[in-house]
């Protein structure tokens, strides 16, 4: 039996402690925010925040996930979206959306550590999170917006 804290609640799950956290979150706790992308910690699609730090849930064993885990579902508080989630909507920073869990959760951990990142710091902080629809430009704009920085809109007639 493994005990874990997710989005403010404690769960007891009867699984092998070597099970990657991702599958427990998805299949036992029925959370759909973190998703499988590579199983290698390379793409970021499965990102959750553990004790304030972004972690790749596909390579964290559930038995070692002893901290406070936050998933995409746990970002909004009392029905109010996290400013990043709102910025994502304002910037329409989504194509298919499959990777956006990783983009948003990594950005949350980035802003927690550095509330006013420069462009270079955003690029560096987000470097390991991949998007195959290539929403990077919008994702960066959404992060700037959430950090209260002016955003240059994509121009159009």
């Amino acid at each position: 039996m493994v005990s874990l804290r997710v989005n403010g609640a404690t769960h007891e799950v009867d699984v092998d402690p070597a099970t990657p956290l991702l599958y427990v979150l998805r299949n036992d706790l029925r959370l759909s925010g973190p998703r499988f992308g590579c199983g290698l910690g390379q793409c970021g699609t499965c990102t959750v925040i553990i004790d304030g730090v972004a972690a790749r849930s596909c390579i964290v064993n559930v038995g070692r996930a002893s901290g406070e885990i936050t998933t995409l579902e746990g970002l909004s508080k009392d029905g109010a979206l996290d400013p990043l989630q709102q910025a994502w909507i304002d910037e329409q920073a989504v194509q298919c959306g499959y990777c956006q869990n990783g983009q948003i959760m990594t950005a949350r951990a980035l802003l927690n550590k550095n509330p006013n990142p420069t462009d270079a710091e955003i690029r560096q902080g987000m470097e390991g999170v991949l998007c195959r629809c290539m929403t990077y430009y919008r994702v960066q704009a959404a992060i700037k917006r959430a950090a209260g920085r002016p955003v240059t809109p994509s121009r159009g007639a």
């Binding site: 092998d16 579902e73 329409q92 462009d119 121009r155």
Partner: protein, 788 residues
């Protein structure tokens, strides 16, 4: 009397007289179809009813009720046979249909691509959602409005001419207190209006669609309805589909391409926790376990004996282009000849020649292929993000030799489609395994499997020759393209999907494949264009199998052709942008006013960029970082694009950074400008990833590009600092009432490799004729030219 053939779920709900209630049961808050909410109690009940409700008849596209339902709360649901790969087409469909129906956008929902619920518009593909499928949607919505006006006329005892429609209500023009809502007329009831049309694209009633100047919802940048649930975690995806008793499967692929399975040592996994079964058929092998992580572990641990092939399935990726040039084509198109190219070359003042190469490039979806199939009640339901769900349904029925009526596909959101999920191997695998096991089975490919074995965009070699006259005009062109495209996969074809190949079920002759000639709007009086297909030694059961990848041949062909146009401009001493404008202005081609629209689009991009007229390359620069700009232009179907890239090339490292992109884009009437800009921008960056990074590598036994380290893709740090998408309406009569709407899904993806190559040339004076432009290759080219 016409036999009405409704989606079963709608029929049930109508007969229960409780449509809105029932609809809420299986429609999520976002309006997307979320049968998979089986995990929550009320929706689970709806799902159980629906799941048992076969046989699954085809919704009749000649019935208005198939397309539109008005609910008692005066909202509407639209049922369309398309899917949305993330470009926001679902929102665009709602806008077009809301506008024609005269109902507020936020009072509508759209359901897409579920085979027994929505009419078969073929799903997605070819960027035709707006250009083609939008028309029947508009016409049926206009017909619904007409039918409602007729009903209102009787109810209000006023001729239709004396009625006015606004936001789902109809009132008497002379006495607005006399009014009736759509819901009061047909809420929860059928329209019972027959439509006509030889095929679904022709579907129409008697009403005509609105003129452009009457459209109110179309043209607005409404936010996409599907984004909030995707950012707050409430979206239920195809990867989330779960059914009671569901088990998990993972595939075991041959370790060497072309190997034959000799034996399986089941004892290597049978004692593992959760183990259920090893399923094998021919060279197809899968392991099924109770839990997902158990299936992953067991599939890795399974011991099997594979007999290597006698001959290598393909050359190494380093030797690919030499192999292609030496190969005998499996097929070749008849040359397209204009004028007398041989005579024109003989007269030309200068003749320029160049060769270009593009490797195999993959889809490499961020979420590997996945599907869940439920065999309950002797039927098969597949929960899938297949962009052509109807094709999956038909293909699986044939593959499993089941009546079509007992197979259906529930379309759900998933990762990028771009042609990959139209050749949906995993949907067939899930269905096959579900029937073998007699239990719902979920399958997902692993990363290495997806990157190595997904369908590939064909590798190409090109040979171009151009003749300029004394005035520097292009008077003769010779184009030869070769694509490794033999056995190009079709859409959900039951004997060419991978599981069928591995099982040994295949057609006698592989599909011939295709190589393409460029989309040309230039005045070239004499030309010869030839396109040839070649095959690798192994045509079947190979990870180097080609399929449609976002504008399947466009990026390759446009790279070669638009790079070569740049070389000709350079030889002519002309500004490359002006060189193109001059050739387009003189072009005899003008279908869909493409000549005027091309000129306008290129000029708009040039103006936004601040293009100063001069030939390439720019005068020699000193310092480690060289900057340059390049243009490429093309069209796809009737959408026109001009792309200007500004690059920084580091002479010490070879690293290329595309600092700025300007995209001029004319897709006619724009349904949702913000959505179009997003699709164009992201399509451009997808092209940039192919320009800078993407390349499938292999040795003579297997693909060695297997993850995000061995197969790099565009990253945050590669993102341009500025992207300008300029939506152009270059129609000679831009305000005309019948301005058509064209697609925006693929065109911007097409010219990027060429624009970047031309910009690198402008910066460095070195022409890169082989994509992608990874730093090692760029540095080697700079060194060879003495520019490093």
């Amino acid at each position: 009397m016409t036999l009405l053939r409704f989606p079963k779920a709608i029929e049930d709900a109508l007969q229960a007289g409780d449509l809105s209630q029932s609809r809420r049961g299986f429609l999520g808050a976002s309006g997307a179809l979320v049968f998979s909410l089986a995990i929550s109690a009320p929706a689970g009940k709806a799902l159980a009813q629906v799941a048992a409700a076969g046989p699954y008849v085809d919704p009749d596209f000649r019935q208005l009720d198939t397309w539109i339902v008005i609910h008692p709360d005066n909202t509407a649901t639209f049922f369309v046979g398309k899917t949305d790969g993330g470009q926001g087409t679902g929102t665009a469909f709602r806008q077009m249909m809301s506008d024609e129906l005269d109902i507020a956008f936020d009072k509508t929902r759209v359901v897409m691509g579920t085979t027994d619920v929505t009419p078969d518009q073929g799903g997605s593909g070819g960027s035709d959602a707006i250009e083609t499928d939008g028309w029947p949607m508009r016409r049926v919505a206009a017909e619904a409005r007409r039918a409602l006006l007729d009903l209102a006329s009787k109810r209000l005892d006023t001729p239709v001419a004396g009625l006015v429609v606004r936001d789902g209500a109809i009132s008497v023009t002379a006495d607005p207190t006399k009014s009736v809502t759509y819901a009061e007329l047909v809420g929860g009831k059928r329209f019972d209006v027959a439509l006509t049309g030889r095929n679904i694209n022709d579907t129409t009633g008697v009403a005509t669609v609105k003129r452009v100047e009457e459209l109110r919802v179309v043209g607005q940048s409404l936010p996409r309805y599907d984004i909030p649930p995707k950012v707050d975690g409430s979206q239920t995806w195809a990867v989330d589909a779960k059914r009671p008793g569901m088990v998990h499967a993972r595939n075991v692929k041959p370790p060497m391409v072309g190997a034959k399975l000799r034996s399986i040592d089941q004892s290597s996994v049978s004692s593992l926790p959760g183990f259920i079964k090893v399923v094998s058929a021919g060279n197809y092998v899968a392991v099924v376990c109770e839990r997902e992580e158990q299936a992953i572990r067991a599939a890795r641990q399974l011991k099997a004996v594979w007999e290597p092939p006698v001959t290598a399935p393909f050359p190494t990726s380093e030797k690919l282009f030499d192999y292609m040039r030496a190969a005998t084509p499996t097929s070749a198109s008849a040359p397209e000849v204009k004028g007398d190219p041989d005579a024109a070359f003989a007269r030309a003042s200068r003749v320029i020649e160049a060769e270009f190469e593009v490797p195999f490039q993959g889809h490499t979806a961020i979420g590997p292929a996945h599907a869940m199939a439920d065999p309950s009640d002797g039927q098969i339901t597949i929960y899938s993000n297949d962009m052509k769900s109807y094709g999956l349904r038909n293909g699986v029925a044939e593959f499993l030799k089941m009546p079509r009526e007992r197979v259906r596909v529930v379309y759900m959101e998933g990762p990028q489609v771009y042609g990959r999920t139209a050749a949906d191997d995993v949907g067939f695998e899930a269905a096959f395994l579900a029937r073998e096991l007699g239990r719902p089975v979920r399958v997902q490919w692993m990363r290495d499997e997806e990157t190595a074995w997904d369908t590939k965009g064909p590798a190409y070699t090109f040979k171009l020759r151009g003749g300029l006259d004394a005035q520097g005009r292009l008077v003769a062109l010779d184009y030869v393209a070769r694509a490794v495209d033999y056995n190009h996969l079709g859409y959900n074809v039951p004997d060419t999907v991978l599981i069928a190949q591995l099982m040994g079920r295949r057609p006698e002759k592989p599909p011939a494949g295709n190589a393409e000639t460029p989309a040309v709007m230039y005045a070239i009086p004499n030309s010869r264009m030839r396109a040839e297909v070649v095959s690798l030694p192994l045509a079947w059961e190979t990870p180097l199998r080609t399929g449609n990848l976002r504008d399947p041949n466009g990026p390759q062909v446009t790279f070669a052709f638009e790079s070569f146009i740049d070389e000709l401009a350079q030889a002519a001493g002309a500004d490359p942008l002006q060189f193109r404008l001059d050739m387009i202005a003189a072009s005899p081609e003008d279908a869909a006013f493409r000549r005027a629209r091309s000129l306008a689009t290129i000029r708009a991009a040039a103006e936004t960029y601040g293009w100063d007229k001069r030939p390439s390359p720019r005068p020699r620069q000193n310092g480690p970082v060289l900057t340059g700009r390049g243009i490429a232009y093309t069209y796809r179907s009737n959408t026109v694009v001009a792309m200007i890239a500004e690059v920084e090339v580091n002479r010490d490292t070879g690293h290329v950074f595309v600092k700025r992109l300007v995209v001029g884009h004319d897709c006619g009437l724009v349904i949702n400008p913000a959505g179009a800009r997003s699709a164009v921008e992201c399509g451009s960056l997808h092209g940039l990833s192919r320009a800078l990074w993407e390349e499938v590598q292999f040795d003579t036994q297997k693909v060695t590009s297997v993850n995000w380290v061995s197969h790099p893709s565009l990253r945050h740090s590669d993102t341009p600092e500025k992207i300008d998408v300029v939506l152009v309406n270059g129609d000679p009569n831009p305000k005309r009432s019948d301005l058509p709407h064209y697609g925006a899904g693929e065109t911007s993806h097409k010219p990027v490799i060429a624009a970047v190559a031309n910009a690198i040339y402008d910066a460095t004076g070195v022409r890169l004729r082989r994509a992608p432009f990874r730093k090692e290759r760029v540095l080697a080219a700079l060194k060879a030219a003495g520019r490093a």
